[in-house]
């Protein structure tokens, strides 16, 4: 599903590489947690996957799409196949919950009837039923993040990338968000999660990839934070 082969990303020569010859293979339906200190290269890795950045060298293939052969005009098509959840939610402040989720469908030309049918279903998956009319600022951080998740999954992507989705949340809300991610994974979506949260990593007992100074230092199945 996700394949990185000796991927290096250098922003400036005198700074050294943000990612240094990283190789990673993620199978379909897998739940992978990427951990590492701030500045280790986690966000760079995710930005490469969403093609916000281009690797300096190496190969990236996601869902059969070879990034080397990807033309600029095809980048939107790629992004429609990947759901992304951001640490800062990136919700549209002037749209309500329903509209924020619907937006992901609008931009790909889904009809209003289909939107009215699909969005409530997805909102109930993330436990936001009844909050359709709320504006983002009227919601707690955890609820906002669940709106962001609903938006990321409403198009039923095969891959969901979550960049520190619990970073701005208290433990209770963080755990709500993680539970939603687990449920989505059970439905068959490949999930790639980056986090700092030791407790979450230890509880989840999933595959954990550790990045340090731009290199993968460990890659273990059913791992916890302590052993990373």
């Amino acid at each position: 599903m996700i394949l990185l082969d000796r991927v290096t990303k250098t922003y400036a020569r005198d700074l050294g590489p943000a990612l240094d010859r990283i190789s990673l293979h993620v199978d379909p339906k897998e739940f992978v947690i990427v951990i590492g200190q701030s500045g280790a290269g986690k966000t760079t890795l995710l930005r490469l996957l969403t093609r916000e950045e281009r690797p300096t060298s190496g190969k990236i293939i996601i869902g059969g799409i070879d990034y080397d052969k990807l033309k600029d005009k095809d980048i939107p098509m790629l992004r429609r196949k990947i759901g992304v959840v951001f640490q800062d939610f990136k919700l549209l402040p002037n749209k309500n919950v329903f509209e924020n989720v619907a937006y992901a469908l609008e931009i790909v030309g889904v009809s209003n009837r289909e939107i009215r049918h699909t969005v409530p279903k997805v909102l109930s998956i993330v436990n936001l039923k009844g909050k359709e009319k709320y504006m983002p600022l009227q919601l707690s951080g955890g609820e906002q993040q669940r709106v962001a998740i609903a938006r990321a999954i409403v198009r039923q992507p095969r891959i969901l990338i979550a960049d520190e989705p619990t970073g701005n949340l208290d433990p209770k809300h963080a755990w709500d968000v993680i539970k939603v991610l687990e449920r989505i994974n059970r439905y068959g979506t490949t999930v790639l999660l980056t986090t700092h949260n030791q407790e979450i990593v230890n509880k989840l007992k999933r595959r954990v990839v550790t990045i340090r100074d731009g290199k993968i230092t460990s890659d273990r199945a059913n791992a916890g934070y302590n052993r990373a």
Partner: protein, 313 residues
């Protein structure tokens, strides 16, 4: 296909909504676009009016060739036929001696002395060929032909070239050429200023919505889906400006014909300009709409380009 239609409609809808939200920002862009389109419109009408004035004057001008009384009808026919083949001859008219006299009498109907002088002698006027040239500025080929010895021999007098009027016509033609050039330069300058102000307006709109655009990008919105509303917004500036410019010119004509009762400003025949504008009203409106929409859409497309590029390194 249906998805495309839905997307197309959403782009138009978003463009209209954005326009309503940014209406104060749009005022400057619309104002300068109205000025640009009004100048275009006035230039077009002025040009047509000058062209009409010139053609009215030039229609009255001809070259008169005075024939010898001794010329045979065959020689005259031969000359007419040769003249007809000259490229700069638009039309020609042959006047017999009797017709020439008749015309002379008509032209001088008020002058009793001249009338008497004419009847006292036998008809002194020669048979005449009146030539209307296509282009007054290129009358030289007709002159060259008429001064050939064989042709000159058939003539009783030097041909008349309506000399002073030709000079006047040249002056008018020159003046209208200069005016046309000034018109073109003014239109180009204003179009550029207009494009820059639209750039600015759109860039401010983009700046206000940059977060939204980056989110749209990350969610997989296509370039045209993001750019479309901006283009629609600018096209609305164009549509409004086109309507305003036509209304302004229309009001100006109403004011000039009603209040001032002016019919002519020197060479600019206001009545003709008014008629010309009325006769071509829908064409002008259509042209202004096309110009406005194109100017707006092109400016917006260029203004959004740099914000919609993907990272290439």
């Amino acid at each position: 296909m249906q998805r495309r239609l839905i997307t197309f409609w959403r782009i138009i809808h978003t463009g209209i909504v954005n326009f309503m939200r940014n209406v104060t920002l749009a005022v400057a862009a619309i104002a300068v676009m109205v000025v640009t389109l009004t100048i275009v419109l006035i230039s077009l009408i002025t040009n047509a009016t000058f062209a009409n004035t010139i053609s009215q004057i030039t229609d009255k001008i001809d070259v008169s060739v005075f024939l010898q009384d001794s010329d045979t009808p065959a020689q005259t026919q031969q000359l007419i036929s040769e003249l007809k083949h000259l490229p700069n001859v638009k039309s020609l008219q042959y006047l017999t001696k009797a017709q020439a006299l008749q015309q002379y009498e008509q032209q001088n109907a008020g002058n009793q002395q001249l009338q008497v002088a004419i009847t006292e002698t036998s008809n002194p006027l020669p048979a005449t060929i009146l030539i209307k040239p296509v282009n007054l500025n290129q009358i030289q080929d007709i002159k060259t032909f008429l001064t050939k010895p064989a042709i000159a021999a058939l003539q009783s007098d030097q041909p008349s070239y309506s000399g002073d009027r030709e000079v006047a016509i040249n002056k008018i033609t020159h003046a209208t050429d200069v005016l046309r050039k000034i018109g073109i330069v003014t239109v180009v300058v204003f179009a550029l200023i207009c494009a820059l102000i639209i750039f600015n307006t759109i860039q401010m709109a983009i700046f206000n919505r940059r977060d939204e655009i980056s989110i749209q990008r990350l969610l997989g919105a296509s370039t045209s889906y993001i750019r479309g509303p901006f283009v629609v917004e600018s096209a609305i500036y164009g549509i409004l400006s086109a309507v305003f410019s036509v209304l302004i010119v229309n009001s100006a004509f109403l004011a000039s014909s009603g209040a001032l009762q002016a019919t002519s400003l020197g060479l600019l025949d206001i009545n003709y300009a008014n008629q010309y504008f009325d006769a071509h009203f829908w064409q002008f409106l259509a042209l202004q709409l096309v110009l406005g929409i194109v100017l707006g859409a092109v400016s917006a497309t260029i203004a959004t380009r740099r914000y919609l590029k993907f990272k290439t390194k």
